[in-house]
């Protein structure tokens, strides 16, 4: 009979996952400001301009603000997040690729 071995598991230790609530949703987008946040990666700007055009044509009561992040997507950008929080009602984040 072939020998049975006990060996170590090579995997690291995952962090505990803590549930986080989503932000309350809006009852309507009409009359509200939606930020189109551009993560500036692989033509995401062109993509979000199409989203902006779609709102202008199909839901003109929605105000959209095109907002590129302050630097590259690998860096946190609290200034932009705070601006969206202060001046917007919702956001669409476009990542490109």
């Amino acid at each position: 009979m072939t020998q049975q071995l006990v060996v170590h598991n090579p995997v690291g230790y995952p962090p505990k996952v803590t549930g986080k609530p989503l932000a309350p949703r809006l009852d309507t987008l009409s009359g509200r400001t939606v930020y189109l946040v551009d993560c500036r990666f692989d033509d995401s700007d062109i993509l979000l301009k199409q989203v902006q055009d779609w709102f202008a044509e199909r839901m003109p009561a929605v105000k959209t603000v095109y907002k590129p992040i302050s630097s590259v997507y690998t860096r946190d950008d609290p200034a932009t997040w705070k601006e969206v929080q202060a001046n917007g009602h919702a956001a669409i984040v476009g990542v490109g690729h």
Binding site: V17, K20, I46, S71, A91
Partner: protein, 436 residues
Amino acid sequence: MDLKYQVPTVALHTQMFHRLTQSVARMNGAPRMRQVYLPHPVMGKTAAELRGYIDGNDPVTGRPVMQEVVEGLTRPLGEEDRSGVSFERSTPRLCEAATPDALQRLFLDNGWTDGLPIVLPTDERVAEMLRHTRRRPEEVVGHLAPTHFRESWEFTVEKVAVNAVMAGARPEYFPVILALASTGVSARGSSTSSMAAMAVVNGAIRHELGMNAGIGAMGPYNHANATIGRAFGLASQNLQGGSVPGDTYMGSMGNALAYASPTFAENEERSPWEPLHVQYGFRPDESVVSVFAGCRSGAFTLGLRHEHWREHVKNMLRGMDPNDSPTLLLDPIVARLFIDVAGLKTKQQLIDWVYENGRMPAGEYWDYQLVQNYKYPRATFGEEPYASRLRAAPQEPIQIWTRDEINVVVVGGETNGYWRIMGARRAGAASIDEWR
């Protein structure tokens, strides 16, 4: 933005990233985060084609994209949306007993290997590895993640030892492997660009371990070089919680250099210049490992010609992707040619020459996709030197790199004056002596 700033948000992704983005949302405790998918790719498509994406259906759900976007911002939250999902996972210390063949299969099927057979990490082998560091087995070495936006996993000295055994490393190599793991740099980055890592060892430990800095140093002719590099790769993928294609690994083409994470000693004895670690402020008598990340682009040639060396080197530099940092890997013969033929007496003079002469027209530079992704955003918000370079006329030749992006390593056995430029960024370094 949705979770931290409580702004209702929808994220647009391409369908290629469906598994990854769902996984990231779950690990952030919000698996029902509103995510809408578009056809892949976005890059290179015209505005009209992208408008077609917006007017079309989500390829994952089959529902209209913009209907999903609007609903994602307005549909009332359910119970799970309001609470998120909490859970804990654990990693057992040991695997269930099995035959060696069954364990090889288990490790392969679980994605714990590089696809090649491994040395099974028995308790005896792991214990022997642990005897070669003064650090306690349960001591936390650090944290690793495949990308910056995924959760970091924690790992201990013992976990690094397990992976070192698997790679076939001898116990005396263990401090180098611990030092590599402590840098926090993953050799299994998830980037779509298919990255690999490279490690350069300096100091006395090169001789203590019999590492190779001479003929065939970059592989595959030395046990220490080969197994330390393999251990770096295996440890990275396992300690960060995986490197699974489509989930925790998105490298489109893959990278054969990732099998080995090329690891070698610098040929300090034959180099005319100060060693890499001394250049970066470590003591000459210290043993240090430096990690480079990227290893995707490269250029290569023989020698340095008296008449046209400048043009030849400029051509090599133009062959690199401008977002990759050039690391010159010079056989000692070539290092001396840079002194004798080019008149660049010091390593810093060589770096300065590359900095001054690595140029291309501004219009071409700024149009590179990776420059658009990683340098242009920094330029538009005033970060120097990119902001000044952005003001250049399209035909004006601008510098491609900053001085601190350029590195020089001397390696090789002087069988001939070959050299190459590896597109690889110096991503970290650690004292090996700290981990003895």
